[in-house]
């Protein structure tokens, strides 16, 4: 995955809206790695994998992985200790 192609958590808004009714780009995450707290919108996001991968901008921990198929979605949030939703 290229650092040049890296985007940020703003780009996850559409695909996360397939799963969540609330806007998660304004949610804040507590990183399971470094305990850093940041809006989901600022996570470092890679879309050139088979799914989307979001990493902590501070320590690089993978906070979120999301893979979609035609029939289901796999969402891995083990890198997020707390997700604070700010509707």
């Amino acid at each position: 995955m290229s650092e040049l192609q890296r985007v940020d958590g703003n780009a996850l808004g559409g695909v996360l809206s397939e799963v969540f009714a609330a806007d998660l780009t304004t949610a804040t995450t507590t990183c399971a790695g470094c305990r850093g707290v940041a809006p989901l919108a600022v996570l470092h996001v890679y879309l050139d994998a088979p799914g989307a991968v979001a990493r902590c901008p501070q320590c690089g921990t993978v906070q979120l992985r999301l893979v979609r198929s035609e029939t289901c979605a796999w969402l891995d949030l083990t890198g997020i200790r707390v997700l604070q939703i700010n509707p």
Binding site: G13, S17, T26
Partner: protein
């Protein structure tokens, strides 16, 4: 005018192209009529989905360039020659054609006049598109919130919304326009030359101001360079919101 950011799960809608305009040799505006569009806030984006005859689908995000106006909105598409989606949207799509989209998306990179200011908007290349929705929203309600615009383009021909920005700067005392050209500038160019660096940011941003809201949008390297320099100049990171486009359209 609906003002909710993301009212529940988004559905794909069929939008019709009602007008197109070439902003620069590489950037084209698509004016879309979107039946059932719930409204949006300046800075939000939408997803466009194209489906090939064999069922293959490609999806991309585009910033909305206009404030909410019932079921009408503009997006601007920069043509990437090796792109899967942009050559079609930028080159082949015609008035009357339909595309699938969903939105509005994102509540983070958002400003409207009720948020107050002062506001500093910094865009690289086609990263100016969501910033233009903010500037247009401000002008539409004749807001007097102080707004400074700093954008970076390769050449004069690559400046997106050039004429409209000059009109905004001429019409409002509290809208100030700063532009820089990175590759080639005409001899009589009165703006800045070269990339947005710490010196230019210090001149445009002035001293740190905890009340100011700064929005930076463009290619990832551009956004991170600007944000790092602003923080280095003493601007609080919490006042700076960023949106990264990846590698597209380096200014």
């Amino acid at each position: 005018m609906a003002s909710t950011a993301v009212p529940g799960r988004l559905t794909w809608r069929l939008a019709e192209v009602v007008a197109t305009a070439d902003e620069t040799p590489a950037v084209r505006t698509l004016r879309l009529q979107v039946p059932g569009w719930p409204g949006h806030r300046p800075g939000q984006h939408l997803d466009v989905r194209l489906t090939a005859p064999d069922g293959y689908r490609a999806q991309r995000s585009y910033s909305i360039a206009t404030p909410a106006d019932r079921e009408r909105l503009d997006i601007a598409v920069e043509r990437l020659d090796d792109g899967e989606v942009s050559p079609y949207l930028n080159g082949e799509l015609r008035v009357g054609d339909q595309i699938e989209l969903r939105g509005p998306i994102g509540g983070y990179f958002v400003w409207d006049p009720s948020h107050g200011g002062p506001v500093l908007l910094i865009g690289g290349g086609s990263g100016v598109v969501p910033l233009m929705a903010m500037a247009r929203a401000r002008a539409r309600v004749a807001s007097t919130v102080p707004m400074r615009w700093l954008s970076s383009s390769r050449t004069l021909a690559d400046v997106v919304y050039r004429a409209e920005l000059e009109q905004l700067a001429a019409a409002h005392d509290s809208f100030e326009l700063f532009q820089t050209l990175t590759r080639d500038a005409p001899e009589d160019w009165a703006g800045h030359r070269g990339r947005i660096d710490e010196r230019l940011l210090a001149e445009v941003a002035g001293p740190a101001d905890a009340a100011r809201q700064t929005f930076v949008c463009g290619p990832t390297s551009f956004v991170e360079g600007v944000a790092t320099n602003l923080v280095g100049l003493g601007h609080p990171p919490t006042t700076i919101k960023t949106e990264r486009f990846g590698a597209t359209g380096a200014p």
